[in-house]
């Protein structure tokens, strides 16, 4: 009698039923130095330009890491004015996932075999990662700041492909991507599930002549949840009033 019970217990186990790592939980960004798994970095395409602006560091004006900008993108970045972003109309516009993924905010993962949900604190954004094998939609499908994502497992790694991302910023200093950008992320649990690391690769030949990549790390925090963001655009008025009082 014990053998059937054991089989039933194994079938009921999420680890067996799903047979993949469980990324569920609350993930908080790591800002200190973090070891990068060599094979994870090796899985990036050859020749990518690394963008080391994750976490504590951000790029000042005119710095883009190893990205090689097209002449048009470089001209746009040189003409970009930071104060233009500090307006009622723009200050609460969420950036796309291309930039937002490396931000200093936590996020939550809800995982099922067919669908994985990424719930971000930053601007209250949510991503659906379809794991059911569906294709990406045609060009007429709406573009959004979070894009359209499908995922699959490669060994222990979750690989997410994203298209249909609305035009937005790459480095938050004047380098913008088009709505033709494509992005691939590779997520992996490390340290017995205490940390989640990822690489982000993106390609947008209209603005960068080489492909770009970031490495990002988060730590798991039990019992925490993301807060509502509820951006208040009147912050722009505060900024505009500085020195005028």
């Amino acid at each position: 009698m014990r053998r059937p019970l054991l089989v039933l217990a194994l079938l009921a186990s999420p680890a067996v039923a799903q047979d993949h790592p469980d990324l569920s939980g609350f993930w908080s960004p790591d800002f200190g130095p973090v070891e990068r798994p060599e094979d994870l970095m090796d899985a990036l395409p050859d020749g990518v330009g690394m963008v080391e602006d994750t976490g504590v560091a951000e790029f000042p004006r005119g710095e883009f890491g190893e990205l090689v900008l097209t002449p048009e993108a470089l001209e746009h970045a040189e003409q970009w004015t930071a104060d233009d972003e500090m307006t009622l109309q723009r200050v609460c516009l969420p950036p796309s996932i291309v930039y937002a993924i490396q931000g200093p905010f936590p996020w939550e993962v809800y995982q099922t075999p067919e669908l994985i949900v990424f719930k971000y604190e930053y601007f209250d954004q949510t991503r659906l990662v379809f794991m059911d094998g569906r294709d990406h939609p045609g060009e007429d499908y709406p573009h959004s700041k979070m894009g359209f994502s499908t995922g699959h497992w490669e060994g222990e790694d979750l690989v997410v492909e994203t298209t249909h991302i609305a035009a937005s910023t790459i480095t938050n200093n004047g380098l913008d991507h088009t709505d033709q950008i494509v992005m691939r992320e590779r997520y992996r649990l490390v340290d017995d599930g205490a940390r989640l690391v990822a690489t982000q690769w993106f390609s947008d030949p209209a603005v960068i002549e080489n492909d770009g990549a970031r490495f990002i790390s988060w730590s798991k925090r039990e019992g925490e949840h993301v807060y509502p963001y509820e951006c208040d655009p009147s912050f722009a008025l505060e900024y505009q009033s500085i020195g005028e009082e």
Binding site: V56, E58, R61, N172, Y229, S241, G243
Partner: protein, 129 residues
């Protein structure tokens, strides 16, 4: 003069800021210097994408300078012990932060201390969010 530069590359290296929210910290603020101001809070906002603290500072000539202190996003501040009642208008405060690159009386919060010298919430240091 109730505000002063306390620039130190070594000090700042140990107290690097968390990355900014909607706009780039590095574009707006000088991460190689820190500034300290003392004055009276005239307004305090606790809303995203950034909180703000308005502080009236009396300079060496006896004139009032109106400073604005930008905080990181309140969603982050909440995890550091801040809330919308952490400061009040009329309160004496001492604030350290990274100054604006364009010279405006504007800085990014590193740490705040009340009239008794007690820290408000937790200061920002490398390795913390």
């Amino acid at each position: 003069m109730h505000y002063k530069l306390v620039a130190s590359v070594a000090l700042v290296g140990a107290l690097a800021p968390a990355a900014s929210a909607h706009h780039s910290f590095a574009v707006f603020f000088d991460e190689t210097r820190t500034v300290e101001i003392e004055g009276v809070v005239t307004a305090y906002r606790f809303t995203n994408p950034h909180g703000t603290i308005a502080v009236d500072v009396t300079n060496a000539a006896g004139e009032i300078e109106h400073w604005r202190v930008e905080t990181t996003a309140p969603v982050v501040l909440r995890r550091r012990g801040w809330d919308r009642n952490s400061l009040r208008a009329g309160q004496q405060v001492r604030i350290t932060g990274w100054p604006a690159r364009d010279g405006k009386p504007y800085l990014r919060l590193q740490g705040a201390f009340d009239e008794n010298g007690r820290p408000v919430g937790q200061a920002f240091a490398e390795g913390e969010d």
